[in-house]
Symmetry: C2
Subunit: 481 residues, 2 copies
């Protein structure tokens, strides 16, 4: 078997110890790896590199396309960029994959049957980080959901489920409220699900789904979610499995993938041969399957499970009622190596046989172009007088192209025409201009409207075009009344 | 004692039975209520009123300002507006309050010590419902957080904690990512917390906080959150307390407040004297404290707890190992009435003595006006060529006032200048125009820029002004690089 080149970073704190233990186990387990080592983390930050990673390290990552990363320490104080955020953005790591498994009774948990994989979109949603404040009272953050971004993460979830022998993919979204953004996520989920008839699929509204996940996680298998829900609920899932210290995760890009433990560098445990290498080891097992070394992955994973159930435990999970021996990092690795070829008796053994020769094709399907027409504009004003009727009267006289004032909302609630006296109004007003029949307008019309409103003394703070796609409006109506 | 006028709706399905049981208990418990009855729900919808509530009902609500509402049935099929959403918007019910309490061992739960109140902002955040699609690939939803809206909900949480003898108020937000929107929420929390030195306060990043809540809810007391997090996590909290069928909730406005059970009208249990009235009863107890009838509230609540621990249970929570008698709705109400004046022995009795004469003042503090300058504009383009450098070259020549092109991002990631080849680009580009030194520009400059970009053949889809407040930029930088 040819060796697969990978890039390894030993990191900070307990990083070097758990990385050494992990690599020792992988090698004894038959993994064929050609290792390039790079320097990241504290030393690099403190040498004056604000990203914590040297330029030549990127070349290694671009060459091997596989990154096994130990935790690092980000120095205290400002000016240091998060290495994880940088890596994710630069390498386009669109999928965050986190298996959350209970190992009861060997690790205590309220949910002994739990075995859930959270697949979290990693690039868009509110995490695009686009925020503006334009009035004294109101701050805005853009939530962006793209069709190709959504399709990639959902395809990834189904490919993953197929490769890892999973039975069901669940989607969480809030499309009863966010009908267009989360609606797109749900719609793409349904489309892609139809291409995987052998896998069960289902959708839950995220609030009820989250309640179910927290209460009876054993009913879920693979769950795919937009970025924010995935951020919150992958932490919930890892925590209630009882195994935050035992969890690994993968960050997958179309070219490059990164594998790690979910915990940090635990500096106060560094250099004492104490740390549990299991989180990083489980991350490295995901890496082995990713690069097609399924047999080694299976051998190592089962030996690790056997070690756990034999009660050979590092300090962090040692519990006199189930543990037989308290060991250090190195001894734990030796115990796993001694069990290579064995399978657990009580815990469920893993099998990666099915995952052979699976290519994770996540390429979005080309979409037929739609006919886009601009039919109006939402003009947002900064305006401190709180009377919507006065504002409506004043704006009614402004027209351009087919457009005239059709409504005013404040925080989304319609306040003109026919608002309610009780509606609380801020200094942030959305004024919608369009024709009743959705006649097209040009951008010159939109400019003329802005010009005339500005000349009348109003302060425009932002605009949003109103469009139709193939004749259908693709903007939300106002709420209330 | 003078009677307090309240408005009551008997609702649909099990509504009339549980309302009758609730009102019988309240009256026997000494509540002084002057009841106006209104018609809402199925009958009203089917009579052709798409809101499910008659116009004269609003008059009653505006008069009494207190609404005790039984669940209703929303007819199947389109065109019917959610009565809860309408009521919330029309009456400005900004706070959703949901106590989540475990009643172990009488109601089974994995979290027997849980006693958490979720206070959820109810009007803004992503739920303002402002969505636009302007390119084929990208859909947008606006997240709006306002200072007065935030201040109202946070003041409410602290006032509630004080009135109900709670010890700690926790805030959840994601301000490490959404530094301006969630940052505002966190900042206002810290400001308001300082006015309540007798109450402990703390802030958690919502992902870690949610994990903690799902795993060890007993460490929390009152938790205040923006709308979306509150929606998800109030469902999680109610579910893991084990008492979805026993939970009540309040929707509080500055004028009017509405009290209800969190469950629905359970039509298949209607008319059979089976339903558990506890959720609505707990809602009505919140109402009694709200209108200052604390003694009656305490008497009724303790009698209800005593009934529960005496094992007098309706079918839904009947469990032979802890229940002594299976009863119907009416008999359950009689059992509570028979225990008025008694206190529970095993469950913790409630006391509302402290809540006397508390006025819930949530009025936002006036803010000193800031000096707002417009210093640039983000112009968003629909553009299907994927080469950021070509786009950058073309836009570099467009200038107005002090503004010229400073960067281009795609889904928030900087792609010009000095982008990375791996960054995945959609058809949605944000082009930032400003001066290095943040020199002010007029809206005429912004119009001139839009004009020149439009004339060059680019399709503008939206704009966002860039502002400084008292000289400080209040817009986020681009990510990456
Ligand atoms: N991906 C990453 O590189 C990453 C992720 C998170 C944090 N960090 C960084 O790590 C540094 C420390 O963060 P932190 O202390 O908050 O979190 P942490 O490193 O995860 O450690 C917190 C505690 O968890 C326990 N723990 C974590 N990993 C363990 C292991 N493998 N074996 C045994 N016990 C383990 C230890 O508890 P006891 O000491 O109580 O035994 C440790 O003190 C910071 O600089 C942070 O920025 C890096
Ligand atoms: N605030 C509201 O007005 C509100 C809220 C939610 C839903 N709804 C409406 O209610 C209707 C029915 O919704 P749904 O069936 O999904 O939910 P649901 O009414 O909450 O009832 C679901 C099931 O929960 C149990 N249940 C709920 N309340 C109970 C009580 N007080 N005592 C005993 N068991 C109770 C029953 O289970 P078993 O039958 O298995 O015993 C019932 O069939 C729909 O029209 C919905 O729109 C109204």
């Amino acid at each position: 078997m040819e060796k697969t080149p990978i890039t390894v970073a030993y990191g900070d704190g307990i990083g070097p110890e758990i990385m050494q233990a992990t690599l020792d186990i992988l090698q004894a387990g038959g993994a064929q790896l050609d290792i390039e080592t790079i320097e990241i983390g504290e030393k690099v930050y403190l040498s004056g590199n604000s990203a914590g990673i040297a330029p030549e390290a990127w070349e290694s990552l671009r060459r091997t396309k596989v990154f096994l990363k130990a935790p690092i320490t980000t120095p205290q104080g400002g000016g240091f960029k998060s290495l994880n955020v940088t890596t994710r953005k630069v390498l386009g790591l669109f999928a965050n994959v986190r298996p959350c498994v209970a190992y009861s009774p060997f690790v205590s948990t309220k949910h002994p049957a739990m075995d859930v994989v959270i697949v979290r979109e990693n690039e868009e949603d509110l995490y695009a980080g686009i925020e503006h404040q334009q009035t004294q009272e109101v701050v805005q953050c853009l939530k962006l959901i793209s069709r190709p971004g959504t399709e990639k993460i959902i395809r990834y979830a189904f490919e993953y489920a197929r490769a890892y022998g999973r039975k069901k993919v669940t989607c969480f979204s809030k499309d009863n409220i966010m009908k267009q953004t989360d609606g797109l996520f749900h719609k793409v989920f349904d489309e892609v699900a139809a291409e995987y008839p052998e896998l069960e699929n289902e959708h839950w509204i995220v609030d009820i789904g989250a309640a179910k996940l927290a209460d009876t996680p054993e009913v879920f298998d693979v769950i795919v979610m937009p970025n924010l829900y995935g951020d919150i609920l992958s932490d919930v899932a890892a925590q209630i499995a009882g195994s935050v210290g035992l969890a690994g995760s993968a960050n997958i890009g179309q070219e490059v993938a990164m594998f790690e433990a979910i915990h940090g560098s635990a500096p106060r445990r560094a250099g004492q041969n104490l740390a549990n290498p299991s989180g990083l080891l489980l991350g490295s097992i995901m890496m082995l399957v990713h690069i097609g070394q399924n047999e080694a992955a299976e051998r190592v994973h089962n030996a690790w499970l056997k070690t756990l159930e034999d009660g050979i435990h590092t300090y962090d999970i040692f519990d006199a009622s189930v543990s037989t021996e308290k060991v250090g990092t190195r001894e734990f690795a030796q115990a796993v190596i001694a069990r290579l070829g064995q399978k657990p008796q009580q815990l469920t053994p893993v099998s990666y046989a099915q995952a052979k020769n699976v290519s994770f094709n996540v390429t979005p399907k080309p979409q037929a172009p739609v006919a886009i027409e601009t039919v109006g504009v939402d003009i947002f004003l900064r305006h401190t007088d709180r009377d919507p009727n006065k504002l409506g009267q004043a704006l009614k006289t402004h027209k351009a192209g087919a457009m005239s004032l059709s409504m005013i909302t404040n925080r989304g609630v319609k306040v003109w025409p026919d608002g309610f006296a009780e509606t609380f109004c801020t200094d942030h007003w959305r004024c919608r201009f369009k024709s009743e029949a959705l006649d097209p307008s040009s951008y010159q019309d939109i400019l003329a409207l802005q010009q005339s409103i500005t000349e009348a003394g109003f302060e425009i703070i932002k605009t949003e075009n109103l469009c139709t796609f193939d004749g259908q409006p693709v903007f939300s109506a106002g709420q209330g009344a």
